[in-house]
Subunit: 202 residues, 2 copies
Amino acid sequence: MSTIVDASLRIADADGLEGLTMRRLAADLSVTPMAIYHHVPGKDQLLDLMADESLKTLPGVDRSADPAVELRRLFTAMHRLYLAHPALAQVMAQRPMEGPTAGLVGEEVLYVLTAAGLDDDAAISALITLTTYTSGASLYRLSRRRHVGARGEPLAEIAAGTMPTVHRLRRKINAARDTDKQFTDGLTRLVDSYLGGRGSGP
Amino acid sequence: MSTIVDASLRIADADGLEGLTMRRLAADLSVTPMAIYHHVPGKDQLLDLMADESLKTLPGVDRSADPAVELRRLFTAMHRLYLAHPALAQVMAQRPMEGPTAGLVGEEVLYVLTAAGLDDDAAISALITLTTYTSGASLYRLSRRRHVGARGEPLAEIAAGTMPTVHRLRRKINAARDTDKQFTDGLTRLVDSYLGGRGSGP
DNA sequence: ACCTGAACACCGTTCAAGT
DNA sequence: ACCTGAACACCGTTCAAGT
């Protein structure tokens, strides 16, 4: 059954989520499409299993190290994981990640946050905000990569009269869009905000 | 042609993005599936047109008002727009929004940020961070709504031993997940961070 | 310029049957 | 317990033909 999940991840990495069909998966496993349904209830559950499996590659946190550093490390790793496996990010955008591994990651984050002095409500809020920011930023970068040049250069034909600032900054905007620096900037601001400025140094 | 876009939005609101097929759209317009292809190049371009059309309902910003208030107002409106039209959020997660209306929204935000004293790079960074946070938070709430109870209560069966904090806070986590308060908290932190604490009062 | 009919190359999944 | 064959009810899109 983890043979099925592994093959699915291989296909999704190679040909994207739209390349992953039950029929293609069956062919790769030299089996009839229907054989898969005896191991997995359906395609949706297969996607859940794939997502949870991917999360296992995330690093654990060092509970004795600086909380701000550890949080930035973990969510940067999550961001990189999404960028490396676009299908995972797409699945997570559609379906909530509620598998066991997602739970373990949440446990790590909540531990760090409460150990840093946040009360329960603040820790939960920080966990959700950091998670949603990371997924939003990842999807943003991925969507731009996927459709690069697909619709011409739309911002090039903008009316300078109606959007002068966008027109003036066009080049800079496009340069900033798909950079680690952009992601790190937002992440750092959120981490600093929740940890109250403490812990950004050693 | 905007008849086609309007009908598409109606279908997507009623039956979700997966209910919007070229054949269903054609049937609603009392026309053959192929007739649509004489007005729109394909389904992907139709989705782009739908997304841009939806953005037109966003409010403009008051350029003489408090920047922090105006930014919170605009991104809260964007969040509500996504929640009201889940298909729009799904489209935006898959394809970058580069239509004319998206450009106008960006223009508004960049104006407010630069008028508040941010330099070009900081304004661009803030625009992207606020946009990606809003979309990530919206998708998170929507994905949980869509699959509520679809896979049982996964967090209920967690091992208290391996994730004690998640286990202890289970109820609070689930309660916080789909609330405006959660979104507003992260948004306020980002806005305050970029505007340097100024402007949160009158 | 605008629409139609028929077809192509796909999907996920059900159902009955085989070993 | 595990797999197969054939079919159902769909997709988006191409192509040639009609008005």
